[in-house]
Symmetry: C2
Subunit: 223 residues, 2 copies
């Protein structure tokens, strides 16, 4: 059930604070997703138990954007994998010592680590453009399973794909944040992450199927 | 009970996963602390309820090192203040849009925001030194109540004190991570954050009193 560097698919972000609604979205979209991504809004509202409730349907990537010292980051990662998470997202910004600790914990649970190199939202260029090469070097040294690259900035995905030929690239920012499915895949992403455009849709199942079919038809056009 | 830019004191970090032990440390040290700092290890082990259990004894700063997009960061901050937190820590590297949202939420709860500008652990110089000026500018524009500066790097505290004359500086990294109380205060910090050197001490109360008295005697020497 693990994500693969030679595959393509849909990851649904579940930033939902209501458990019934969250599980309803999971049950109605599960046939179209490779994994669910959950972050602090769901965990702080529903507790860490929500992770294992979702893993009954599909793998879970914990988007905790870990950005702490190594000792604390290790604990955060352990807590996620103990609950059955398949992957965890960590900021490369906090350096190789934190990343190494998270990668070690992930491996001990047969889980995956995704390093965040560039964010999706506006106003981060002044910071991330200045340290981009440094962050790329950190991720090279630590060797995570994958990276997180912004669908809102396809040129960054393109560049990271050139550098990290064998890594899984997952790309948030499709839909509400403005990223486009085909453009993101063309740039080199493996998995498209969609949140609000699915869970706020009038019919989340239709919305998920629609994104899934777009990915499928792009992949088939490349065969 | 709020922290003040013209005051000095001790903040105890509670990165403890056992509730009985955590509350025991709180009860035995409360006479010597200005606030407690709790982070993900306590919250992921004990739930968000732990915040309000600690606020019975002293103000709580949530060290969530928020490093997310604005929409998600706002939710994280709201969850902390809803539970009675007095302050929240947010990374400045995620840009002014995230910081502004967190500051706005904090103000609506009469709470405080602390922007993290430089971290304590080794291996982060290659990243943080490159964007230091950019992060300082972001914090200037957003105007948080305070900043987090590393006791392990007193020259950074000194520089930030010059730039941010009116802000509360809280400094982690004293004790187990190698920072020194007097050196940190001399550099310009208001509140010293101590974790393991207190909660792993043979007698946490004695350890807290010892740190508290060091701060007091330094302050008195300056009157």
């Amino acid at each position: 059930m693990h994500l693969k560097p030679d595959d393509y698919g849909l990851i649904v972000a579940l930033d939902i604070e209501d458990e019934n609604y969250l599980l309803e979205v999971v049950k109605s979209t599960k046939d179209y997703v490779s994994a669910y991504k959950i972050g602090w809004p769901a965990v702080l509202s529903l507790g860490m138990e929500i992770i294992s409730k979702i893993t009954k349907y599909a793998p879970v990537i914990c988007d905790f954007k870990i950005a702490d010292i190594p000792e604390i980051s290790e604990i955060i990662a352990r807590k996620a994998f103990e609950r059955g998470a398949t992957g965890i997202i960590v900021h490369s910004f906090v350096g190789e010592y934190t990343l190494k600790r998270v990668v070690d914990v992930a491996r001990s649970y047969n889980g995956m680590t995704f390093a965040l190199i560039y964010m999706t939202h506006k106003g981060v260029e002044s910071v991330f453009s200045k340290v981009y090469e440094v962050l790329v070097d950190i991720v090279k040294r630590v060797n995570t399973d994958g990276i997180v690259a912004p669908a809102t900035r396809p040129h960054i995905i393109k560049d990271l794909r050139k550098t990290f030929n064998d890594k899984i690239i997952i790309s948030p920012g499709v839909g509400a944040q403005g990223g486009d499915v085909v453009e993101t895949l063309e740039a080199g992403a493996n998995y498209i992450i969609v949140g609000r455009a699915i869970y706020y849709a009038y019919n989340p199942e239709d919305a998920a199927r629609n994104f899934y079919e777009k990915i499928l038809s792009w992949r088939n056009s490349k065969l």
